[in-house]
C-alpha cells in the first residue's frame, strides 16, 4: 500500500491505496472526481487528461504514487463558481461536444495547449489534439472552439 498526499483543485487529500492504483482510479474511485474519464487502456484516447503542476498528462498512464505531492487540476476545477473556463465556454458556444465523453479530456488538453501556445495555427491545433480522440464531432467544431478560446484568453 502507498500513502499518497496530493492537492486536487486546491484541496489537500491523503489516501492510502494499493501500489498499483492508477492516478485516474484514485481521482475517480477514491476522490469521487468522475469528470475525468477512461476511454482506453493504451494512452491513446486522452479522455483522462488532467493537469499536474500545470502540464497536461494522461492520468491513466501514471501511478497514483507517482503523483505524491503533486498539484492537480481536473475538469471539476476549471470553472470559477458559475463562470465557465474560457475553453469550457468556447466548447459550449461552438457546439464542440455531442456525447460529451471525450470533452473533459479535450478541455484539459486545449487549456494546456493554449497556455504553451496562445496563438496556435491550424496545424498546431491538429498536432496539439493528436492525443485526444472524439468519435462524435468530426473535430471541426472542436477546432473552432480552440480558436474562440484563444481569442477570449488574449
Amino acid at each position: 500500500m502507498s500513502k499518497i498526499e496530493l492537492t486536487v483543485n486546491g484541496t489537500k487529500h491523503t489516501r492510502e491505496v494499493e501500489d498499483r492504483t492508477l492516478l485516474v482510479d484514485l481521482l475517480r474511485d477514491h476522490l469521487g472526481l468522475t469528470g475525468t474519464h477512461i476511454g482506453c487502456d493504451t494512452s491513446q484516447c486522452g479522455c483522462c487528461t488532467i493537469h499536474i503542476d500545470g502540464r497536461a498528462i494522461k492520468s491513466c498512464t501514471m501511478l497514483a504514487a507517482q503523483a505524491h505531492g503533486a498539484n492537480i487540476v481536473t475538469i471539476e476545477g476549471m470553472a470559477q463558481g458559475e463562470e465557465l473556463h474560457p475553453v469550457q465556454q468556447a466548447f459550449t458556444d461552438c457546439h464542440a461536444l455531442q456525447c460529451g465523453f471525450c470533452t473533459p479530456g479535450m478541455i484539459m488538453a486545449v487549456a494546456a495547449l493554449l497556455k504553451d501556445n496562445p496563438n496556435p495555427t491550424d496545424e498546431e491545433i491538429y498536432h496539439g489534439l493528436e492525443g485526444n480522440l472524439c468519435r462524435c464531432t468530426g473535430y471541426i467544431n472542436i477546432v473552432k472552439a480552440v480558436k474562440q478560446a484563444a481569442q477570449t484568453m488574449k
Binding site: T42, C45, C99, T137
Partner: protein, 746 residues
C-alpha cells in the same frame, strides 16, 4: 451501490475451438472471490438464445437460422473475445487477478475469419445447424427482368468492393451494473442503451423473463453509433451473478475488451453490375452481397444488412430492372450489429462506385451521368423494384447546389495548379439516399407533465447518445406552445417505463419522437383551452390561443399558458398533463456531397482539400445540431475510407487491430472544413416534415471521398482501389501504375 461486487470475464483467446476441460476451483480460492460462473451456468439459466429483430423470409419460406449463443460459451468458442467464464469478487482488481487461475484446455478447430474462408469448400462450420456457414440466403428484386435487360446493354460496368469491417468505438466503453431484488423478483439494470424499449425487449427474449421484471435505469451515454443497439451476453451474465449472490454486480469494459467483443459494423463484400444503353441511361443493375455477420447473429445486425440495403438499392436513379442476392455468413470473428447507417452507407458505396465506373468507362462526366438517370420530381412517390418507396425529393436541385458551391466546372484549374506542386488532385461526388425513421415499437409517445410548481417536463422513451434531444425536442415543444425554451424540462427513458416508444437509431428520433412532441403540444393547447376559459370566466368558444397566450375575444382578458399552468399547479395529476402518441413511416433524406483531395505521390498521403455537403434532411429544426451530425457522420465515413479496418489474422483468427495503437481512428484535421448547404424538401411522412440526419454524413462520405481519390489516380492508370485508402496502399498503387506504364513504353 452498497454491497456492490465486481465482475471480470475470461475471454477466449482461440478463434475456433472445443473447450475440452475447465477448472474454475483455483480461481474461487483466490482472495476476495465470491463466485465463478461458466457455460454450464448459462445453460442451466437458459440464457442461450438472442432474439433477432428480423421478419425476413426468403422465397423458400426460410428465415435466418438463430444459432444458440450461451452467454458464457459452452463446449465451444467461436471468436477471440467470446466470454468463457466470469469471476465475481469484492474488487475489480481481485476479480481480474483471479481470471489467471482458471484452468482451461482448448482443442483448436480450423478458423475462418473472413467471408471467403467461411464459404470455401470444406470450411469448418461454426454452428451445427448451419453446415455451409450461411445462416440466411435472401433476394430482392426481379432476377428475370434483370437477366432480360442485360443482353440489350451497350455497356456493362462492373465493380467488386468491400465495405470493410470496422469497430464502432464510441468513446465510452461499455459499463453495466445489475442488481437483483429478491423481494420483487426484479432486476435493476444501470446500463447504456439507445432506448428503453429495444433493450428491454431483447433482454426479456433472451432470459425468458417478462419485461416488467427488468427495470432499466438509463442515463447519459458516451456515444453509441448502433453498437449499443443490441443486448450483450455480459448483461445476462451479470443477472446470473447478482441473483446467485444477492448483491449488485458491476462490470466496466476495458477498451481492449471492447475491441474484441463490442459488436463490430459493416463487413459486406459487394459485387455490382450496371447495364447502360449507348446514351448512358441505366437499364438494369444486379448486385451480390455477402454479409459477414461474425460468429453469431446479433439482434440488429441482419435486418440492417438486408432491409436498409434493399430499400435503397436503386440509389437516386431510375433503374427499370433491379436484383440483389444476399448471404448472411458466419465467420470466426466478433458479431456484427448496426453501425451508423447500418447497410445504408454500404449500398450507397457500391451504387456510387458503380456509377463512377460507368462514367469512366463511357467517358461521360460523372455529374452528368447522374443527372441523366435521376428519378425525376414528377415520378414521386417512387417505388423501386426492391421495396423502397421514396417520398418527394429534388435530386437535381441538390446536385446543382453542390456543383455550384464546389465549383465543379472550375476543377481543371485546381488540378493543374496542384500538378505544378507535384500533387495529384481529384474531385469526387456522391449523390445518395437512405431510408430512415423505422422503429420496432408500433408508435412513439411523448408525455408533457407539470409538477407541483407548474413547471413543464417533456418525457420521452428515446435516449440520446449525443444527438442533443434535450435541446431539440424541448425546442419543438417550446415553439409549438409559444413558451420560453427554458420553461420546458426534459426527461428520457424513465425507469418505470410509462412512456413507450423507440430508441434512437436509424436517424429516427426527430422524425418519430420529435414529431410527437409537436402533436403533444397541440393536444396540450386543446386540453388547456377550456381551463383557460374557466380562469378567464368566458366561454371556451370565445378563446383563441396564440404565441403562448389564451386571449378572450372580447374584454381584453388573457392568461399565458405558463400562468395557467402555475394557477392549476395544486391539483394532482395536473389537469393540463397530456400523453400523445403517433406512428411514423419511413422518410428518405438524400444529398449530394463533393470532395477534393490532394495526394502526394512520393508518400501516398491524401489530404482532403475541400468538402461540400448539400443535404435534404427535410425541415431543419436546429441548424447547429444538424451541422454537428453531418460533421460527425462525414468524419466517421472518412475514418473508414482512409484507415479504419478491423483485421483478423487469417490463420489464427486473432484480432490484429485490437487497440487504438493498431486501429486507425480519425483525428483532428483529417477533414479541415466541411461546408454545408441545406436543401430541404419537407417530408410528407410526419408533421414536422423532418427526414433524419444522423447517418446521412457517412452514407455520402464513403463514396464521395473514394470517388475523389480514384479521380486523382485514374489518369495514372491506377485500377479500382478499395477502402481503406492508406498511404501505403495508395503509394504502392502509384508505383505499380508507373511500372506498368514503363513496360508499355518499351
Amino acid at each position: 451501490m452498497p454491497g456492490q461486487l465486481h465482475a471480470a470475464f475470461l475471454r477466449s483467446d482461440h478463434a475456433h475451438a472445443d473447450i475440452v476441460s475447465m477448472n474454475t476451483a483455483p480461481a474461487l480460492a483466490r482472495p476476495g472471490v465470491q463466485a465463478v460462473f461458466a457455460g454450464s451456468d448459462a445453460r442451466a439459466a437458459g440464457y442461450v438464445r438472442f432474439p433477432l429483430m428480423s421478419n425476413f423470409i426468403n422465397r423458400n419460406g426460410g428465415a435466418p437460422i438463430k444459432s444458440d449463443r450461451p452467454v458464457l460459451a459452452h463446449g465451444k468458442v467461436r471468436f477471440v473475445g467470446e466470454l468463457v467464464a466470469m469471476v465475481v469478487a469484492k474488487s475489480a482488481s481481485a476479480a481480474q487477478d483471479a481470471l489467471d487461475a482458471i484452468e482451461i484446455e482448448y482443442r483448436d478447430l480450423p478458423a475462418a475469419a473472413t467471408i471467403n474462408d467461411a464459404l470455401a469448400k470444406g470450411a469448418q462450420p461454426l454452428h451445427a445447424g448451419v453446415p455451409d456457414n450461411r445462416s440466411f440466403i435472401w433476394e430482392a428484386g426481379d432476377a428475370d427482368a434483370v437477366a432480360h435487360a442485360f443482353p440489350g446493354a451497350a455497356h456493362v460496368a462492373r465493380i467488386d468492393v468491400v465495405s470493410t469491417r470496422v469497430v464502432a468505438s464510441p468513446m465510452e466503453p461499455r459499463a453495466y451494473l445489475v442488481s437483483y431484488d429478491a423481494a420483487s423478483d426484479c432486476y435493476d439494470f444501470h446500463t447504456q442503451a439507445q432506448g428503453m424499449a429495444m433493450l428491454r425487449w431483447q433482454l426479456a427474449q433472451l432470459t425468458g423473463l417478462p419485461e416488467e421484471k427488468l427495470r432499466l435505469h438509463l442515463y447519459d451515454v458516451g456515444g453509441s453509433f448502433g453498437q449499443r443497439s443490441s443486448a450483450y451476453p455480459e448483461h445476462a451474465a451479470l443477472m446470473m451473478a447478482s441473483k446467485k449472490l444477492g448483491r449488485p454486480v458491476k462490470w466496466v469494459s476495458t477498451r481492449s475488451e471492447g475491441f474484441l467483443s463490442d459488436a463490430h459494423g459493416r463487413g459486406i463484400q459487394m459485387s455490382g453490375q450496371l447495364a447502360l444503353d449507348k446514351d448512358g441511361n441505366f437499364l438494369a443493375a444486379r448486385y451480390d452481397f455477402k454479409c459477414d455477420m461474425g460468429a453469431y447473429l446479433t439482434p440488429t445486425g441482419c435486418s440492417g444488412h438486408l432491409r436498409n440495403v434493399a430499400a435503397c438499392m436503386t440509389g437516386v436513379y431510375k433503374t427499370p430492372a433491379l436484383y440483389g442476392d444476399f448471404s448472411l455468413v458466419h465467420t470466426n470473428a466478433a458479431p456484427i450489429a448496426a453501425y451508423r447507417g447500418a447497410g445504408r452507407p454500404d449500398i450507397a458505396y457500391v451504387v456510387e462506385r458503380l456509377v463512377d465506373k460507368a462514367a469512366a468507362d463511357m467517358n461521360i462526366d460523372r455529374a452528368e451521368l447522374r443527372r441523366r438517370n435521376f428519378i425525376p420530381m414528377t415520378a414521386f412517390p417512387y417505388t423501386s423494384m426492391t421495396g423502397g418507396v421514396y417520398e418527394l425529393s429534388d435530386f437535381a436541385g441538390c446536385l446543382d447546389k453542390a456543383l455550384k458551391a464546389a465549383d465543379w466546372a472550375g476543377f481543371a484549374h485546381r488540378r493543374a495548379a496542384a500538378a505544378r506542386t507535384g500533387k495529384l488532385r481529384g474531385i469526387g461526388i456522391g449523390t445518395v439516399i437512405e431510408g430512415t425513421g423505422l422503429g420496432r415499437s408500433p408508435s412513439d409517445q411523448i408525455a408533457l407533465e407539470f409538477d407541483a410548481q407548474g413547471k413543464l417536463t417533456l418525457c420521452t422513451a428515446t435516449l440520446s447518445s449525443g444527438q442533443s434531444h434535450e435541446t431539440t425536442f424541448t425546442q419543438v415543444v417550446a415553439q409549438s406552445l409559444g413558451v420560453a425554451h427554458e420553461f420546458v424540462g426534459f426527461c428520457s427513458s424513465r425507469r418505470d417505463n410509462e412512456i413507450l416508444g423507440n430508441g434512437s437509431g436509424g436517424s429516427r428520433s426527430m422524425v418519430g419522437a420529435g414529431s410527437v412532441c409537436q402533436i403533444a403540444s397541440q393536444k396540450l393547447i386543446a386540453q388547456a383551452l377550456p381551463l383557460a376559459a374557466e380562469a378567464l370566466e368566458v366561454e371556451p368558444s370565445q378563446i383563441k390561443f396564440a404565441h403562448g397566450v389564451f386571449n378572450a375575444n372580447e374584454g381584453g382578458k388573457s392568461i399565458s399558458l405558463e400562468a395557467l399552468a402555475r394557477r392549476l399547479a395544486g391539483t394532482h395529476p395536473h389537469p393540463m398533463n397530456v400523453l400523445a402518441e403517433s406512428s411514423v413511416g419511413s422518410t428518405y433524406p438524400n444529398g449530394c456531397h463533393i470532395a477534393e483531395v490532394e495526394i502526394d505521390p512520393e508518400t501516398g498521403v491524401t489530404q482532403v482539400a475541400s468538402y461540400f455537403a448539400a443535404d435534404d434532411c427535410g425541415v431543419v429544426i436546429n441548424h447547429s445540431i444538424v451541422e454537428g451530425q453531418v460533421h460527425g457522420g462525414v468524419m466517421q465515413g472518412a475514418g473508414q475510407v482512409f484507415g479504419e479496418h478491423a483485421v483478423y489474422d487469417r490463420g489464427s483468427g486473432q484480432l490484429l487491430t485490437g487497440s487504438f495503437n493498431d486501429y486507425y481512428m480519425p483525428r483532428a484535421g483529417l477533414i479541415p472544413e466541411i461546408r454545408m448547404d441545406e436543401h430541404p424538401v419537407p417530408s410528407t411522412a410526419n408533421v414536422l416534415g423532418a427526414k433524419g440526419v444522423g447517418e446521412s454524413g457517412c452514407t455520402a462520405s464513403l463514396p464521395t471521398l473514394v470517388s475523389a481519390v480514384m479521380d486523382a489516380l485514374r489518369p495514372l492508370g491506377v485500377p479500382e482501389l478499395d477502402m481503406p485508402l492508406t498511404p501505403a496502399k495508395v503509394w504502392h498503387a502509384i508505383q505499380d501504375a508507373k511500372a506498368q506504364q514503363k513496360v508499355k513504353a518499351h
